[in-house]
């Protein structure tokens, strides 16, 4: 099972990466993670963010991700020390 962290998106770095304030980590994670991590996302479940990276722009990513609470399923780290993740929205603030 992949390691999972949750938290809020604090800064958009590029059309496929952001900085995150990690507030929750899965109990059974194999590794531990910093309070602030940079995420490189390979998949994202938010329809307003195009799958094709060349069709994205920073403003679009900011509108959809900045300050949002997200779940990141981690598949590793890349050469820039960013967590490589599949990102999805998490739960709901209410009903």
């Amino acid at each position: 099972m992949a390691d999972i962290v949750w938290g809020t998106v604090t800064k958009i770095i590029s059309t496929n990466s952001f900085e995150m304030n990690v507030s929750h980590q899965k109990d059974t994670n194999g590794d531990s993670y910093q309070d602030i991590e940079e995420i490189h996302f390979t998949q994202i479940d938010i329809p307003s963010i195009p799958v094709d990276e060349s069709s994205r722009d920073i403003l679009q990513i900011e509108q959809n991700l900045k300050d949002k609470f997200v779940k990141c399923e981690i598949s590793g780290r890349n050469s820039e020390n960013r967590l490589v993740c599949s990102v999805s929205h998490s739960g709901a603030g209410g009903y």
Binding site: W6, S48, G93
Partner: protein, 253 residues
């Protein structure tokens, strides 16, 4: 003083005080008679088309929060659940209409169910809390993470709940004098709602779910539902509404 208001007669400030959170909640007593609530609750409990929701044993209806990024699925499910609710209320006056008429009087605005591209939103949700069911601390405003939906742009969103059956014990709604702001997202719980640390030492008001009473409050105020105790379920009917224009409100769930 931050005090729940019981509606005797709507004044100009009744609606605006709810919007601003100056009043924690407005209780409108006896919107439905107790005999009507009893017959409606019996009918609801016999209905088979029920789903589950976090903290709730059963529900009838479709909610946006279960479909944040699944818009087409939301509208398909809304079409089905709206029909279920219409069938359920077909023998008598619809409690949804009664709630809308009451809100219209209080706000002095027209109200109708929300549409988007000719698709109707889910009109209401029946929630059935059984013994042990509770709902953790949360807020319900749609203007932050539900930007896929047109209703997220409606101003001054409020929540309306009509209690159809009171539990034997428990099930009270607690509203806290604290409005959500986006920095609070750092206090989110992964599955649902927020950490209780957010409302430490914050004044609160408790509202007992009395059958026939309607409660209106600002869903940006943090709130929770206490555990229901006993064999009698807590049954409520609810929807949200907001301003489409100065004199027109739209409702959805």
């Amino acid at each position: 003083m931050w005090t729940t208001q019981i509606l005797r007669e709507a004044t100009n400030s009744t609606y605006t005080d709810l919007v601003s959170g100056k009043t924690p909640a407005l209780i409108v007593p006896n919107v439905l008679s107790s005999s009507f609530c009893i017959s409606l609750s019996r009918k609801i409990l016999k209905t088979n088309l029920m789903g589950v929701n976090l903290g709730i044993s059963k529900k009838i209806g479709t909610s946006l929060s279960s479909h944040i990024y699944k818009k087409s699925e939301y509208f398909s499910n809304a079409l089905l659940s709206n029909q279920t609710l219409k069938n359920l209320f077909s023998d008598n006056v619809s409690p949804i209409d009664v709630m809308q008429q009451t809100i219209s009087k209080i706000s002095q605005k027209k109200i109708s169910s929300a549409f988007e591209n000719e698709m109707i939103y889910s009109i209401a949700m029946i929630r059935i809390h059984e013994h042990g069911d509770s709902v953790h601390l949360h807020r319900d405003n749609s203007d932050f993470e539900m930007s896929e939906y047109g209703i997220s742009n409606l101003k001054n969103q409020l929540s309306a709940i009509l209690y159809l059956q009171s539990p034997l014990n428990g099930g009270k709604l607690t509203i806290y004098n604290k409005m959500w702001n986006k920095n609070d997202e750092q206090m989110r719980c992964p599955e649902f709602g927020y950490s209780s640390d957010l409302i430490k030492n914050v004044p609160q008001k408790n509202i007992f779910p009395i059958a026939g009473n309607m409660v209106i409050f600002n869903p940006k105020l943090y709130h929770k539902v206490e555990s229901v105790i006993g064999i009698k379920s807590r049954i409520s009917l609810g929807f949200f509404f907001g301003e489409m224009s100065k004199n027109h409100l739209c409702s959805w769930t």
